[in-house]
C-alpha cells in the first residue's frame, strides 16, 4: 500500500530545489539554443549571415528521404535492442534471485561489458566482426556454421550492431533488476510458501508485480538511451554501409559536424526530442507502467 504525505511541507521544495536548479541551468539553454537555431539558416562558417527562415528546416526534414530512412533505422535498431535487453535483463536478473556460490563475483563479471571502455570495446568488436581478420566468422566456420558479413552487410549491419548494444547494455537491466529483487520483502514469500504456491505462481503473482516499478524504470531508461546511441554505431560503421546504419542521432551528427548546418541539425534535434517524448509516453501508458512510475 502506498500512501503519500499530502501536506504542503515547505521541505519538499528544499529537497527538490538543488536538483531542479541544476537541471534547469544545464538543460534549458541547449534546448532553447537548438530551438533558436532551428528556425534560422545557420551555417557555422558564415555565422553572421544567419537569418530567420521560419519552419523551412522542419519542412526540409519532413520531406527528406534521408530523414525518414534514419527514422526507420532508429526504430529498427532500438526496438530490436530493447526487447532483447529486457528479456535477457529480466531472465538473468531473476536468476540472481537464487542462492548460489560466487554470486557477487559473477555479478561483477557480468557487469564488465558495461564497465569496459566503449572506445576500446568498439574497436575490438570491429575486429571480431571482420570477415577476414575476425574471430567470430573463424569460430563459426570451425563449427560448421556459415559466416556472415556482420557489419559489412547491408542487411546484417543493424542486427550486428544490436548484438554489440545488447552485449554492452544488458548488464544495465541485470544490475537494476537483480538488486531490486534483493530488496523485496520476505513476508509475501513466506506467506506464499505456507500456502504451498509453486515457483511459477510465486513468480507471477508476487515477484513480478512487486518488481514492476523497477523493471519499468529500467526499461524506460534503456529505451531513452537506446535512441541516443552514438559511440557504437559511429565507431563500427560510421552510418554505413551506405546509409544502412544511419540512425537519427548519427544523422544529426553528420549534419552538425560534417555539413556544419546548425540550423538544420537544430531542427532535427527538436524533432528527435519530440519523438522520444512521444514514444516514452506511449510506452509508459500502453504497458501499464504508468501507475508504477508516474503516479
Amino acid at each position: 500500500m502506498i500512501k503519500k504525505i499530502s501536506q504542503r511541507h515547505k521541505i519538499v521544495y528544499y529537497l527538490l530545489l538543488p536538483s531542479i536548479i541544476t537541471l534547469i541551468l544545464f538543460t534549458l539553454f541547449p534546448f532553447f539554443y537548438n530551438l533558436w537555431a532551428s528556425v534560422q539558416n545557420y551555417d557555422l562558417i558564415y555565422p553572421n549571415q544567419k537569418h530567420f527562415i521560419g519552419l523551412s528546416n522542419f519542412i526540409k526534414a519532413l520531406t527528406n528521404q534521408e530523414f525518414w530512412n534514419s527514422l526507420k533505422t532508429t526504430f529498427y535498431f532500438s526496438g530490436l535492442g530493447i526487447i532483447l535487453q529486457l528479456l535477457i535483463g529480466l531472465g538473468v536478473g531473476l536468476l540472481f534471485g537464487r542462492e548460489f556460490k560466487g554470486k557477487n563475483i559473477l555479478r561483477t563479471l557480468l557487469i564488465l561489458p558495461m564497465v569496459a571502455m566503449p572506445v576500446a570495446t568498439a574497436y575490438i568488436w570491429r575486429i571480431m566482426f571482420s570477415p577476414s581478420l575476425g574471430i567470430i566468422n573463424y569460430v563459426f566456420q570451425k563449427i560448421g556454421l556459415q559466416g556472415s558479413e556482420w557489419i559489412a552487410g547491408y542487411n546484417s549491419v543493424i542486427p550486428s550492431l544490436v548484438i554489440v548494444d545488447t552485449w554492452q547494455w544488458s548488464p544495465f537491466m541485470i544490475l537494476i533488476i537483480s538488486s531490486g529483487l534483493m530488496s523485496l520483502p520476505k513476508e509475501p514469500y513466506e506467506a506464499a510458501k505456507i500456502e504451498g504456491a509453486t515457483g511459477f505462481q510465486t513468480l507471477k503473482n508476487i515477484t513480478l508485480p512487486l518488481l514492476k516499478p523497477i523493471i519499468s524504470i529500467a526499461f524506460v531508461f534503456r529505451l531513452i538511451d537506446s535512441f541516443r546511441t552514438f559511440d557504437i554505431i559511429y565507431s563500427l560503421t560510421g552510418g554505413g554501409p551506405g546509409h544502412a546504419s544511419e540512425t537519427l542521432n548519427i544523422n544529426i551528427y553528420l549534419n552538425a559536424f560534417r555539413n556544419l548546418d546548425i540550423g538544420y541539425s537544430g531542427s532535427l534535434v527538436i524533432i528527435f526530442l519530440f519523438l522520444i517524448n512521444i514514444v516514452t509516453l506511449f510506452v509508459i501508458r500502453r504497458t501499464g507502467f504508468e501507475e508504477s512510475i508516474l503516479k
Binding site: L44, I45, Y46, P47, R126, F129, S130, P131, S132, L133, G134, N137, G147, E149, W150, I151, A152, G153, Y154, Y234, T237, G238, G239, G240, P241, G242, H243, L254, F257, R258, N259, L260
Partner: protein, 452 residues
Amino acid sequence: MKGAESMKKSFLTVILSLSFVVFFSLSVFSAEFPGPDAAKIDWNQSNGQSIRVMACSRDAITYLKNIVPEFEKLTGIKVAIDDYPEAEFFRKIIIDLSSGNPVSDVFMLSHAYSTMYEAGGWLEPLEPYLENSSLTDKAWYDFEDYPAGSLSAVVINGKLYGIPIAPDNQIVFYRKDLFEEAGLLYPNNMDELYDDAVKLNNPPNHAGVVLRLARGAGTHWPWNGYIQNYGGSWLNTETKRPELDSPQVIAGTEMYLKLLKDAGPAGAVNYSWYEASSDFAQGKAAIFAGDANIFMSSFEDPSRSQVAGKVAYALLPPAPDGNNAPAAGTAWHWGMSSVSKSKEAGWLFIQWATSKDIALRLGIDTTEIMRNSIWQSETLKNKYPTVPDWIEASSATMNQFSGLYRFPRVKEFGPLADIVEALLQEMFLGQISVADGMAKAQAQTLEVMKME
C-alpha cells in the same frame, strides 16, 4: 733516437685518428642544412609569450612534441601542443574556430577544409609574415623548396594561408615476392593491374588487392586518385561544377569497385585504411592499390609487419588509354588563427617547425617529407637504402602536385565526400548500379552546392 721516433709516430697516429674521428663524426652528425642559429633574425623577439597548437595526431606531430623544448629554449616562447585522432580533431577544431574566440593560435589545416575555414574568416594570411625580414630569413628558410602545387590548397583568392607540413601521397604497394612467384611484372596499365590482382587473389590466404571503402574514413581520397587517373574530375576546376556522371569518372569508379569485388577481401565494404594497411602488413593482400606513402615505415618494420623486405613501391599505373593523370596527393599545413593574440610568436613556431633542418630531422625519422631538397638529400637515401623505389615513387608524386591536381576545394567539401562514400558502398553491395549511383551522386552534389 728510436724512442723519440716511435713517440713521434704514435703522436702522429693519435692526431690523425683523432682528426679522422672528428671529421667522421662531423660529417655524420652535422646537419645537412643549417640550423636556426644560422637564420638572420632575432628568435628572441617574442620572448615570454605562449601559444597553443592544435594538431591531428601523426608521427610528425609526435616528433615535434619531442623536440619542441629546443624551440622554447631558442625563443623563450611557451608552446602547448594538443593532438587528437583525426575524427576528434576535426570536431574540436571546428568548434574552436567557429566559436569566434578560439583557444588555438596555430593549428593543422587539412587541404580539404582550407577553403571552408577561409570562407569563415578564421585564417590569417601568412605572406606578410613570410615577407617580413625581421620575422623571416627568406634565404635560410627557402620557401621555394616546396613543390609548386603543394600550396594549391592554401592559396585562396591569391593569399597564402598555410605552410606545408606533411604530404599524403598515393602510391601502390605490392608484394614483389608474390609477383615473382607468379611470374608477373608490375602492370603497365590499370586493366593489367586488375588481371594481376585477380590472378593473385587467393582466399582465404590473401586477397589480390586491398583498398579503402569505409564511410567516413577518407575513402574519397584514393577514389579521387582513380577517377583522375581515368581522366575524370570530381569538380570542374574552372566552373566548380561537379562532373560525377562523366564517362571518365564512371570508368574510374567502376575499376575501383571491380578490383575490390573480384579480388578484394571479405567485408571490404567496411575497410578503412586501418584494415587495409594491417591486412597488407599481415601478408593478407598482394597489392595495396593506392594509399598514403607513409605506410612504408610500418611495412618495413619487422616488429610491426610480417612483410618487411618483401614490398615494392610504384606509382598507380595509367588508365588503359594512356591518360596518366597523377595520383591523389594532398598535404597538411600549418594555419594560424586570424584572431590570435600571439601571431608573431605563432609564425616563429611555424617557421622553425618547417625549416629545412628541422624538416630533415623530422622527415628522416617519420618519412613525412614535403620539401624537394629533403626528397633529394643523401641523408634520406642513406636512411632507407632498401627502398629506393619508394623514394622514387614518392618524389614523383610530389612533382605531380602542380596544376593537374583536382580536388573539390569548396566549403561544402564535407557533405560532398560523404555523398560519394555512402554511394560507393551502395554501388559495391549492388544496391544500385554504378551508372545510376554516379548519377545520384551528381544530383545530390548539385543540390548541396546549390547548382542546377
